[in-house]
């Protein structure tokens, strides 16, 4: 019964999305206040309906209702509670429902927080959100309905893919979706501006918090996914350049560019046409990612051709939204007035440089992701585009960008002083060079990339800090005054500093792991010891154990340094009964920023086991850097100028109250 109610709520949401698609946009066209005012409550109720549908499906999972096809395919009565909940989105249908839930959430948030927005802009934004809802709700109801019942319910479910039975899955997809579905809002703002034919600095101020929110979640989601793959898949890799990863990475690159170009627009009323295009492209890449992941095209181009209902549906959505928005852009963009003039050497110029390299890098990732598909369809040749391709294209495009990052914040708007900026960065440059030279001296001639990489990472990190140091005049005026200056700096300055610093930290982690990771793959007898990265790992033995829905062999290793016992490490080989599928559970110990990583291979006769151990120096910086970037994003989000509308909002709300 509850499942049917959920199904019904989803159909209602579809009906509401039709209303939301048509009425407000028509109202904006006719300048009819009452029609435009329909948008906000409809968006709110639509969120409620999708929320109910999602709750109903979750209920079916919690109660292990195997008469629901989706639950039967992906759940099991022995499955722990948390994985019953996360199992809701651990499959195609459920994850699309989560996608739409988040879309509806953003629609409702725009409706709730956009009270001070101009009425036509708000109506158009919500109208465009309605179009996206309409497309994806139809997709779910017509091709991927999670509420389908089975006539003769089986007694037991088929269980969730064991690799997905992990806390990582509970968090990773929601974060990722909050990120790339979040960019639907910026897309809607861009489309609304084009519909309106009007765009200004205020528009950029309205849209910026939404860019930041989406970017923050996408950054977290990607970092989380990377760490999950690192510990769950058992071979210690943190990035695979897998098409599925690229699908989330491309919107991140475009979104990061958008974050920077919106800044120019807000401050200087320039780069409007480009910013609007970037907003469209960012969400288009999110849609492309959804298509790649959800259509089955990656599994097989031919499976896509033989069972095309889902794939063709998403492809149609993709074509309509990307084609439609780009046509709208081509038609209306020339009407947007260009503002602010600036010299090439200026803050604007630096931000353009950032955009140029980020979009070029994004294009390289796009080509590497789509080329194998295109070749397969056209010639039938099967190729793989892996890390070497991306190292050759993405890498060289990132290096100039990283080198340029510290200069940006030192350049003034309109016309910057490159020489002055260079002088202020002398200390940072000198320290980075010294660090690179020390690394080169320790490394010898064997590894040229390590000192260069570490030097660049240090340059980005110290360069970021230098800007704050210079602005608070640290050391040039009494310390107390510096502190009060620091407290007075706008939060967005701290945001930029943390964002850039985090970027440098991530790079430092990647370079250190690539250059200095140590690996041992060996057969160990009980009692044997191997040393790695200065640590001694002793194999104590293998013991069987049983979990709620799996059996496992747990390896016991003791980790010592200089004879001092540090930790027991217990990697395991698990076997999930329902799916007859083995998984590897690695064991990780963290020391500072470094990690020791152990995973198990096959058991041998006589209690011996094949094991793989890594020493990974500075590896946690890869993800901590992303966390620092996110904190920077939060600082920017809390900046005063994004809240300037706040008092006015209260006033308006009070004034509007009697009218409602």
């Amino acid at each position: 019964m509850i499942v049917e109610l959920g199904h019904f709520a989803l159909v209602l949401a579809l009906a509401l999305s039709i209303v939301q698609s048509v009425v407000p946009v028509w109202g904006a066209r006719m300048r009819d206040e009452r029609l435009m005012a329909v948008a906000a409550p409809v968006a709110g109720v639509q969120f409620l309906m999708v929320g109910l549908a999602f709750a109903a499906l979750t209920f079916a999972y919690l109660t292990s209702d195997f008469s629901v096809l989706n639950v039967w395919q992906n759940s099991h009565s022995d499955k722990p509670l948390i994985y019953r909940i996360s199992g809701v989105w651990g499959n195609h249908e459920g994850s699309m429902l989560l996608w739409v839930l988040i879309l509806a959430l953003f629609g409702a948030l725009v409706a709730a927080f956009g009270r001070t927005m101009p009425a036509t802009l708000k109506a158009n934004v919500l109208g465009v959100q309605g179009w996206i809802s309409l497309a994806f709700l139809s997709f779910i109801l017509f091709t991927s309905n999670p509420f389908i019942r089975i006539a003769n319910p089986p007694m037991e479910g088929q269980d969730l893919n064991p690799i997905l039975q992990d806390v990582g899955l509970a968090i990773h997809p929601p974060l990722l979706y909050l990120g790339y579905v979040g960019f639907s809002v910026t897309f809607s703002f861009a489309a609304a501006a084009l519909l309106d034919g009007r765009i200004d600095a205020a528009w950029a101020r309205w849209v910026r918090p939404w860019i930041l929110i989406a970017w923050i979640f996408l950054t977290l989601g990607i970092a989380m996914g990377s760490y999950w793959a690192y510990y769950e898949l058992g071979w210690g890799g943190f990035w695979f350049w897998d098409p599925v990863e690229n699908a989330s990475f491309m919107p991140w690159l475009a979104g990061t560019a958008l974050l920077h170009s919106a800044l120019v627009m807000e401050k200087r009323d320039a780069l409007k046409v480009w910013t609007v295009l970037l907003a469209i492209l960012t969400f288009s890449l999110s849609l492309l990612g959804t298509f790649l992941v959800r259509s089955g095209v990656l599994t097989s181009v031919h499976a896509f051709a033989t069972d095309p209902s889902r794939g063709v549906f998403i492809l149609a959505i993709l074509a309509i939204f990307i084609g439609g928005s780009l046509s709208l852009y081509a038609w209306r963009a020339p009407m947007l007035k260009q503002g602010g003039i600036f010299a090439p050497i200026s803050r604007e110029g630096a931000l353009i440089l950032n955009n140029l390299f980020l979009t070029a890098a994004c294009a390289a990732v796009l080509v590497g992701t789509l080329y194998p598909l295109a070749l397969d369809v056209t010639t039938g040749d099967k190729i793989s585009v892996g890390a070497p391709f991306f190292n050759m294209t993405f890498g060289p495009l990132m290096i100039p960008l990283l080198l340029a990052i510290p200069f940006g914040p030192f350049l003034a708007w309109k016309r910057g002083d490159l020489l002055g900026a260079a002088q202020r960065l002398m200390v940072a440059f000198a320290i980075a060079i010294v660090i690179a030279l020390v690394v080169a001296w320790v490394e010898g001639a064997a590894n040229v990339m390590a000192p260069i990489g570490i030097g660049i990472a240090a340059w980005v990190m110290i360069g970021a800090v230098s800007e704050i140091v210079w602005r608070v005049k640290l050391g040039r005026i009494p310390l107390g005054q510096s502190f009060s200056r620091a407290a007075g700096l706008p939060r967005s300055s701290w945001g930029a500093m943390l964002g850039h610093f985090g970027m440098g930290a991530t790079m430092l982690g990647i370079v250190a792991v690539t250059a200095w990771q140590q690996e041992v793959i060996t057969v160990m007898q009980p009692g044997e010891t191997r040393s790695i990265g200065g640590y001694d790992l002793t194999f104590e033995g293998l013991t069987p154990s049983t979990g709620s829905n799996y059996r496992e062999d747990v390896g016991h290793f003791s980790l010592r340094k200089g004879g001092v016992m540090l930790a027991n490490m217990e990697p395991a080989k698990r076997f999930y009964m329902a799916r007859q599928m083995p998984t590897t559970e690695s064991a990780i110990e963290t020391f500072g920023f470094n990690q020791v990583y152990v995973s198990l291979g096959d058991a041998k006769d006589g209690g011996a086991v094949v094991m793989r151990a890594y020493y990974k120096p500075l590896v946690t910086l890869i993800w901590l850097g992303a966390v620092v970037m996110v904190i920077g994003g939060l600082f920017s989000l809390s900046d005063r100028r994004l809240r300037v509308g706040a008092p006015r909002r209260a006033h308006h709300a009070a004034a509007a109250m009697p009218a409602e």
Binding site: S95, N161, A303, D307, G386, I521, G601, D602
Partner: protein, 174 residues
């Protein structure tokens, strides 16, 4: 010193053009040199892949062919028509089994043995690499029999949630 509006615009367009040209050049160069072609054991037997050229070898792990000596594993990859001996040092993915599909990356040595440095497996017991399926079909080895591991792979493959399961190369070089 001050640039005219025209000069400014030209310098920016020139800069953007230069970056895009470099990007395009890098992409074209990398597409020529840094991609790996997929081959079946028959392809290797027929076309004699140059020694040292990286390929992606796909097929089934031949029944009874896995021979583990310490951390080194020898196995035979077959597509029914031809066999190719392969060797790999390291820990194989969880789903590496006899009779199952496998995709390995590496080079064919002078000894005629395929030296894999990466063995790929999707983390899903139903997953059959698409290249393997198509190669097997091309060789007439594809049957829809229930006992054929290949047969149960393909129909289910598009239902599995790819988003949450990145492929997991087991790699020594990475």
């Amino acid at each position: 010193m001050a640039m005219t509006r025209k000069q400014r615009r030209l310098s920016m367009i020139g800069g953007a053009g230069a970056v895009l040209a470099v990007a395009a050049g890098l992409i074209l160069y990398a597409l020529k040199d840094e991609i790996v072609f997929f081959q079946s054991p028959s392809d290797v037997a027929e076309h004699t892949v140059p020694h040292g050229q990286r390929i992606r070898l796909g097929g089934l792990v031949k029944d009874g062919s896995i021979d583990r000596q310490g951390e080194t594993v020898r196995f035979v990859v077959t597509d029914g028509a031809a066999d190719l001996s392969a060797t790999y040092t390291g820990i194989l993915p969880d789903l590496f089994r006899e009779g199952q599909g496998v995709v390995a990356e590496g080079t064919v040595g002078n000894d005629g043995i395929f030296h894999a440095d990466t063995v790929l497996a999707k983390h899903d017991e139903n997953y059959m690499p698409k290249e393997v399926v198509e190669a097997l079909k091309a060789r007439g080895e594809w049957q829809m029999g229930a006992d054929n591991p290949a047969a149960k792979g393909a129909p289910a493959a598009d239902k599995t949630s790819q988003a949450e399961t990145p492929s997991a190369p087991a790699s020594r070089t990475n």
